[in-house]
Symmetry: C2
Subunit: 352 residues, 2 copies
DNA sequence: TTGTAGGCGTTATCAT
DNA sequence: ATGATAACGCCTACAA
């Protein structure tokens, strides 16, 4: 009730040594079924569970992996970034960690507090999965000197860190191809995310690749940019329209911006997809409820989290192994905003 | 690089004792600025951070709080429950914990694996915040015998556990009042959630209270029930219509079901809000993008997480203190689905 | 302001 | 199959 009991009490209560209790609690072998039952019974009666810290200290493994994700500026009412993405990744990570008997410690990082905040928990985990844009590059690098790390983003190749990412480029190319090939649209605008965002860069690259492959000359820069938020997408679209541009289709860097874009287009009395087709990237929950429903690209968010944790475990197991990375396939989700009829489901597989 | 250094190395490298290094790392006082700098420099050079487990063992505090949330059946494509709620709570908890220098460990619990899963991490944390419907009641009770717990749900009063919840009853009563007083609707149906869900029960109670206060005789049971999912809401609505009932308004137990309901009504060629008004509960992200946008009740999800963690800290600090509980106010969010014009924002405050 | 030393509750190594 | 018994890395009185 008050003071938690220890392995000693459980040991004496069940008439065995602490070593045996330890063995039983670790599900290993080296004890008879009878002994096992006695120990478990004693533990249960005392409401005892092995002390994590003591365990971690002795075994040199906390049994906890940390997940650093970008702080979604909870202050205002403006959704700074798609929360869904983060949450799904968290779930995937939790699943993979649990499967391996570990737990997940979450850390929200505001770019600023990055270093300090992260160090305060670095000692509590066996390693970190660091999501893109949660830490400044140099902070990530510094952190990597203290504990094993796997980055969840496109780049970081230059940092020599393990990483896993979605095939942003391939997905972007796929939607663009769809617009080009299936609908025959040729004048397509691209509304990108932050210029420094690797994801944003990759998606633009995919857009360009599709255009090039179709024999068209791709632009050297996005027609407009937003910060991956709904408001940003609206503003970027307004600018695009204000500049006099009237593309037949607009490829947005992500769903949230597409949502904002849809609002801007509606305000400008431009019909979607009749006058202009629209596509996004991410497939957030809202997308299928819009009208027209948004044609977009779905990322395997859960899988991203899982794979990142798996790579982390591998890295922890062998700190000197060669650098590894994985790119997960994405899937085109065709709905109404591109001009296709009905609310069709996913189409095609991913890219490698 | 390979083996992590210890406090001893940092101590000798900076020419002080381990006690002093410890003091510096805990941000306490009792050391000169010069010493502080030397220690920090040494630590930085060695890439050293205090070993969490060792620290936890010695101080008897892991510096970690656990958050148990319901497993959102990641298997199928059906969203079993509003993920937003869980995620926002997680964020709130993370914030409160961080503010106190602690970290948050997340644990997804499938009703089944509840006991086992949870015990495997019970030793790693100083206490748990257990979200509603993540653990069976008896598992929660059992867990509470091992570590301090705060429940995030309406009931649990009977278990004598601390808890924090949103004012489900008040919010439900408020939307219903709105339908009654502002719109003058009298024939209002209620589509509830799982009968065993405390949230569901409270919301129905609020619905009844509003009706009673308006001099109408409230039903003894919801007109239909769903499992808080979109599919469930659709099905429940179809049943309602199939039974021949044609209410002037439908109050749904949550937003997801309202979304499904909207689809069912559309399929039945029943116009919202012209023919029938609709309201939800939760204010999920999708709600404001629907058309008509959904009138609903917003819960202070983030705050719920924060308060729960705060209560947990208090409980950890004083295990023998009296039981405490808190009910947080909710806010009515009036949009188009109830019949109000435009996309008005929030209205009124909460209830106590 | 700083140092000394015992102990925190397990795990893991060696025995038996 | 089961026991002794050193670590494990840090905190925290207690001293100085």
């Amino acid at each position: 009730m008050s003071d938690r009991s220890t392995i000693y009490e459980v040991a004496s209560r069940s008439g065995v040594s602490t070593a045996t209790v330890s063995r039983v609690m670790r599900n290993g072998d080296g004890f008879s079924p009878a002994t096992r039952d006695r120990v478990l019974a004693a533990a249960s009666e005392l409401g005892w569970v092995p002390n994590g810290p003591a365990r971690g200290l002795a075994s040199r493994r906390a049994g906890i992996v940390g997940l650093v994700f970008p702080d979604l500026g909870g202050s205002g009412d403006a959704e700074e970034e798609s929360p869904l993405f983060v949450d799904e990744v968290i779930r995937g990570a939790e699943r993979a960690a649990t499967a391996a008997g570990d737990a997940v410690l979450i850390v929200s990082a505001h770019q600023a507090s990055g270093r300090k905040l992260t160090y305060s928990v670095a000692g509590k985990v066996d390693g970190f999965v660091v999501m893109a844009r949660s830490l400044a590059d140099h902070d990530t690098a510094a952190l990597a000197k203290t504990v094993p790390i796997v980055v969840l983003a496109n780049h970081s190749a230059r940092h020599g860190l393990d990483f896993v990412s979605a095939d942003n480029r391939g997905g972007s190319r796929e939607v663009t191809d769809h617009l080009l090939a299936v609908h025959g649209y040729t004048d397509i605008a691209f509304v990108g995310g932050p210029s420094r965002s690797p994801d944003s860069q990759e998606r633009f690259a995919g857009f360009r690749a599709a255009l090039s492959a179709a024999g068209r000359r791709p632009p050297t820069a996005p027609d407009a940019r937003g910060n991956f938020t709904e408001a940003g997408g609206r503003k970027a679209t307004e600018q695009l329209l204000a500049s006099g541009r009237r593309p037949r289709a607009i490829v947005y860097g992500n769903d949230e911006m597409a949502v904002g874009g849809l609002a801007a287009l509606r305000a400008a009395r431009i019909k979607v997809p009749t006058d202009v087709a629209v596509t996004g990237f991410d497939d957030i929950a809202t997308s299928r409820h819009l009208r027209p429903a948004l044609t977009t690209v779905r990322q395997p968010m859960r899988d991203l989290g899982e794979r990142a944790v798996d790579l982390l475990f591998a890295r922890i197991a062998d700190p000197t192994a060669e650098r590894r990375s994985e790119t997960l396939p994405v899937a085109l989700v065709v709905r109404g905003s591109c001009g296709c009829r009905g609310r069709g489901g996913r189409v095609g597989g991913g890219t490698s």
